[in-house]
C-alpha cells in the first residue's frame, strides 16, 4: 500500500497537468509520496515512474540526488540543526552535541521512542538568526541549549503539532489553478508562434 493512494493520484494528475512535460512533476510527486508514507518507498517510485512516463530507475536516480528524500523510515520529526559558518560561529557545535545527549543518539540517528531523527544540516538561509534549526522544515531561531531542551520536550509531547506537521508534509497549502482561469500547459513542440501580445505588437510595427 505504499503506492500513491486514490486521493493522491488525483493530486498527482493535477500537478502533472501543469507542466509541458510530465517528467517535470517528478520531484513534487516524490514529495507527495513522502507525505503519504513518511518516506519514499520503491513501490511509490515505480508508481511515479508510471505516472510521469519514466523508468523507476530514472526516478530513483533523481530521488537519491536530493537531501530531503528518505528511503527508510525516519522519526515523526526531523530535527535539522544548521552547522554552516554563521551558525558554527555562534555555537552550532554545542547545540548539536547537546541534542545528541538529549536524544541519546549520534547525528543521523533516531531516538529510541522513534519520535526524533537528528541531522546536521547545511545553511538554512537564516544566517542573521544563528544558531538556527528546523523541525520538519519549520524554523527556530537564535537557539540556546535550554531552549532546545524545551523545544524537543514540546515536540515529542505533541504540543507543537498545530504548527509542525509530521515528517513528509512540507507546505500545507497547495497551488490550485482553476480550470476556467488557467492558460494550460502545452508541450514545447506545440508552440511555434509568438504569444498573442507579442504578435499584436509586431502587427502594429
Amino acid at each position: 500500500m505504499s503506492r500513491l493512494n486514490e486521493a493522491n493520484v488525483i493530486v498527482a494528475k493535477e500537478i502533472i497537468g501543469r507542466y509541458p512535460k510530465a517528467r517535470s512533476a517528478t520531484i513534487p510527486l516524490l514529495h507527495l509520496s513522502q507525505q503519504q508514507n513518511g518516506y519514499v518507498t520503491n513501490e511509490a517510485m515505480a508508481h511515479i515512474a508510471e505516472l510521469v512516463g519514466a523508468t523507476s530507475a530514472e526516478i530513483l536516480g533523481t530521488a537519491t540526488f536530493y537531501e530531503m528524500f528518505k528511503f527508510e523510515p525516519v522519526g515523526k520529526y526531523l530535527l535539522n540543526i544548521c552547522g554552516t559558518m554563521s551558525c558554527a560561529l555562534l555555537g552550532a557545535e554545542e547545540l548539536i552535541h547537546h541534542a545528541e545527549q538529549k536524544l541519546g543518539v549520534k547525528v543521523g540517528g533516531t531516538s529510541a521512542d522513534g519520535k526524533v531523527t537528528l541531522e546536521r544540516a547545511e545553511c538554512q538561509a537564516a544566517c542573521t538568526e544563528a544558531p538556527c534549526l528546523q523541525a520538519n522544515y519549520r524554523f527556530r531561531y537564535r537557539m540556546t541549549t535550554d531552549q532546545l531542551d524545551t523545544f524537543i520536550d514540546d515536540l515529542v509531547a505533541g504540543r507543537l503539532d498545530g504548527e509542525i506537521p509530521p515528517h513528509g508534509t512540507v507546505a500545507r497549502v497547495r497551488q490550485h489553478i482553476p480550470a476556467d482561469k488557467g492558460v494550460g500547459a502545452v508541450p514545447p513542440t506545440d508552440v511555434t508562434e509568438a504569444p498573442a501580445w507579442i504578435a499584436a505588437q509586431e502587427a502594429t510595427k
Partner: protein, 467 residues
C-alpha cells in the same frame, strides 16, 4: 520601531529608500488585501499600458543587476533569447542556499505578490509562455505563502487567461525543490525542473537564454531581481538609477551575520554603502560583538574570498570588490572577530561545498572532499606542514593559476583580482577552495600553530635488532 517580529532578521533603521521591503512593516504584508492597499499590481497595470519592447527598454535602461550572485543585468539577459524562437520560459530561482545568504526567503515569505508581479512584468516584456517559480525544498513557509498568493491572484484575475482584460495570458507554476545547493546554479535548476538530478549542464551554450528548459530559450532570474520590477515600472528607470551609482543602481538586500552586535538583513543603497558602514554603522550592525576586534569577513556569501579590516572602506560595488580580490555574490557578509579559530571557521565552509558537490566533475568531487579531510586533520591537531602546501596543490587542480585574494600590508600582499580559472563545470569546486585559500593565505600562522611537531625517535631499525 526598527525590526518586526514577523520578519525575523529584517531591520529598517535609517532613512533609506525601500524598493523591495516597503511592506515588511505590515504584519499582513503577504496578503492580497494589503498588497492592493499599498500600490500592489499598479506596476503590472503600468506595464500592460505599454508595449512589451517599451517595458523591456525600461528594465534595460535601469541596469537591474542580477541579485543571485553573478550580477548580470536582467534587461540584457532577456535580450539574449534568439529571435523568433518559441516558446520561451521563465524560471524563478528561489533556491537560496549560499552560506550567509538570507533575503530571497524573506521576500517570498513577506511579499509574495511583489514577486508574482515581477514575474508577470518579465513574462510580458520577454514574451514568455510559462513561468516556473522554483522554491527551495526546505522553505515550507515560503512555499505556503507563495501558493496562497498564487491562488488569490488567479482568483482575482492577475494571473491566467486574459489578465486584466488584455490579450496577455500566462500561467505561473509553483515548483519546489528537495534539498541540493547546486540546484541554485541556473542550468542545474533547469535539470531539476525537468525532473532530473540537479547536475549543472556542460557549457557552451553559456546561457539558458539560448538553450534552457526542454531545450527552449529560458530566462532564469533571482527572486530579489524580479521583486525590483514592480517598483521600477511604477516609478521609472530614472528614479531607479537615481538610487546608487551608475554601475550599481538601485538597492540591495544584504545579510550581515556572525560576530556583530546586531546581525540583520538590510536593504542598502547599492554601490555607495561601505563594508565599514555595514559592520559598524548605527543603522546597520553597530560594531563587533563585545567590542572585540574584527579579524576577517566574507563579503559575498560562502564562495567569496575573504577580506580583512584593510578592505573595510570598500563600497558594496561589484567591480571594486572584484578588483580587490573577492565578489559580492548574493549579498551575504559573515563576520569573524578576533576570538575566531580561522582554520575551524574555514572548515565549516569547505565541508559545506564538499558535501554539496554533485559529483560530476572529478576536481570538485575528489578535490573538495580531499580539502575537507586534510583541513579537518589540521583542525584536529593531526596535520603536518606538508598538509598546508598539499591544500594549495589540491586547489591548483580545481582552479589553476592565481586564485583571487585580498591585499595585505602586513603580509606584503597585493590583491589578486577576480575571476579565477576553473577545471569544473560550475563554481561549487572553486567555492570549496575559496575559504581554504583565503584562510591559508591571510592567516597561515594559525594553521602552523595547529601543527604538532613530531620528533623522530633517534634509533635505527638495526639498533633494535629487527633482522
Amino acid at each position: 520601531m526598527s525590526s518586526y517580529p514577523w520578519a525575523p532578521g529584517y531591520i529598517d533603521d535609517g532613512d533609506r529608500p525601500q524598493v523591495v521591503t516597503s511592506r515588511f512593516q505590515y504584519e499582513d504584508s503577504y496578503t492580497l488585501e494589503r498588497y492592493l492597499a499599498t500600490g500592489g499590481y499598479d506596476g503590472l497595470k503600468a506595464t500592460l499600458a505599454r508595449t512589451p519592447s517599451a517595458v523591456h527598454e525600461e528594465v534595460r535602461a535601469a541596469t537591474v543587476l542580477g541579485r543571485g550572485g553573478a550580477g548580470f543585468p536582467a534587461g540584457t539577459k532577456w535580450g539574449l533569447t534568439p529571435q523568433g524562437v518559441w516558446p520561451r520560459y521563465l524560471v524563478v530561482n528561489g533556491d537560496e542556499s549560499e552560506p550567509g545568504t538570507y533575503k530571497d526567503r524573506l521576500l517570498m515569505e513577506r511579499d509574495p505578490h511583489q514577486l508574482i508581479e515581477g514575474c508577470l512584468i518579465a513574462a510580458y516584456a520577454a514574451g514568455l509562455s510559462q513561468v516556473f517559480l522554483y522554491i527551495r525544498g526546505e522553505m515550507a513557509l515560503a512555499q505556503e505563502r507563495v501558493a496562497t498568493a498564487l491562488n488569490d491572484a488567479y482568483a482575482a484575475g492577475y494571473i491566467g487567461k486574459r489578465i486584466l482584460g488584455t490579450d496577455f495570458s500566462i500561467d505561473i507554476v509553483l515548483h519546489w525543490g528537495a534539498g541540493a545547493y547546486v540546484v541554485g546554479e541556473e542550468t542545474a535548476l533547469i535539470e531539476s525542473l525537468e525532473g532530473k538530478r540537479g547536475e549543472p549542464r556542460l557549457k557552451p551554450p553559456f546561457f539558458p537564454a539560448a538553450v534552457g528548459l526542454y531545450g527552449r530559450p529560458t530566462i532564469v532570474n533571482n527572486v530579489e531581481t524580479l521583486s525590483n520590477l514592480p517598483w521600477l515600472l511604477l516609478n521609472g528607470a530614472a528614479a531607479y538609477t537615481a538610487i546608487g551609482t551608475a554601475t550599481s543602481p538601485g538597492t540591495r538586500m544584504v545579510a550581515v551575520s556572525g560576530h556583530v552586535k546586531r546581525p540583520g538583513v538590510y536593504e542598502i543603497i547599492n554601490g555607495t554603502t561601505t563594508f565599514r558602514d555595514l559592520l559598524y554603522g548605527d543603522e546597520f550592525s553597530q560594531g563587533i560583538r563585545d567590542d572585540n576586534q574584527l579579524k576577517a569577513f566574507v563579503p559575498g556569501g560562502g564562495s567569496a574570498p575573504w577580506f580583512t579590516p584593510e578592505q573595510l572602506d570598500l563600497p558594496f560595488e561589484g567591480k571594486l570588490v572584484g578588483a580587490a580580490g573577492s565578489m559580492l555574490g548574493s549579498g551575504a557578509i559573515m563576520v569573524m572577530d578576533d576570538t575566531t579559530d580561522i582554520p575551524a571557521a574555514a572548515l565549516t565552509l569547505t565541508r559545506f561545498y564538499a558535501h554539496e558537490s554533485c559529483g560530476q566533475c572529478t576536481p570538485c568531487r575528489e578535490g573538495g572532499t580531499w580539502l575537507e579531510r586534510v583541513l579537518s586533520r589540521v583542525v584536529d591537531g593531526h596535520g603536518t606542514h606538508a598538509d598546508l602546501d598539499q591544500m594549495f596543490e589540491i586547489g591548483e587542480s580545481i582552479c589553476p593559476g592565481t586564485f583571487p585574494h585580498a591585499a595585505s600590508t602586513e603580509l606584503g600582499l597585493t590583491a589578486a583580482p577576480f575571476p579565477y580559472k576553473m577545471t569544473t563545470i560550475c563554481f561549487v569546486g572553486p567555492s570549496a577552495y575559496a575559504p581554504v585559500h583565503s584562510a591559508l593565505t591571510l592567516f597561515r600562522s594559525e594553521f602552523e600553530a595547529k601543527i604538532v611537531e613530531r620528533k623522530r625517535i633517534p634509533v635505527s631499525i638495526e639498533a633494535v635488532g629487527a633482522h
